[in-house]
């Protein structure tokens, strides 16, 4: 039973399109995150939600909009995709914000062509 699952695993799309990535956690955690991993494997925080409330919004283009319908789900919608958006996006969750440990999903590899 997967703890943090995200879909789709791979996403190939054209520039200018709008796409969404979904994430669900069944760990009962209060906090969920979106991280972006670039080609050099560097993981950078994008957003953090605690119990459906946005608590971190790093310097991310406003084309990226997270939505948390409930504390077990955190989706990421991206408008007007650009070539530079190509990366692997990871969803994660932790019991509390910045808490003891974060559990990650398997990642969504986004390729914009």
């Amino acid at each position: 039973d997967t703890a943090v699952s995200q879909t789709p695993k791979y996403l190939v799309t054209q520039m200018g399109n709008d796409k969404s990535i979904k994430c669900e956690q069944n760990l009962g955690h209060d906090t969920m995150y979106w991280y972006k991993q670039d080609s050099k494997k560097f993981l950078k925080i994008m957003f953090s939600y605690n119990n459906k409330e946005l608590i971190i919004n790093e310097t991310v283009p406003n084309r990226f909009s997270p939505k948390s319908p409930d504390k077990a789900h955190l989706n990421l919608h991206i408008n007007s995709l650009e070539l530079g958006d190509s990366a692997v996006y990871f969803c994660a969750s932790s019991q509390v914000a910045g808490g003891t440990e974060a559990f990650f999903g398997q990642g969504t590899r986004l390729t914009v062509v």
Binding site: K41, I56, S94, T100
Partner: protein
Amino acid sequence: QKEVEQDPGPLSVPEGAIVSLNCTYSNSAFQYFMWYRQYSRKGPELLMYTYSSGNKEDGRFTAQVDKSSKYISLFIRDSQPSDSATYLCAMSASGGNYGQNFVFGPGTRLSVLP
């Protein structure tokens, strides 16, 4: 200066060697320290978690934290080819406070050669 620094490698060692992986950091508020292992095309998997300074051992893995030097280490004993992966250190300023998140190092790519 980046908040968390880590030698990206690649680091190649023979099977059975002791591996030492390190991170330095600048934010003295960090008090939770983690090591993640990431295989190619997979998500990061938590290996070790340490609170504040000290050592923690789990099987072949030992994590050390020296807050006075702002330096953390992960040691892998009797390394195996299956340990070949990217190792990421991560840290956070506080558990339970809103606005805190996990800050990652860039990762060290390790290859253990049979």
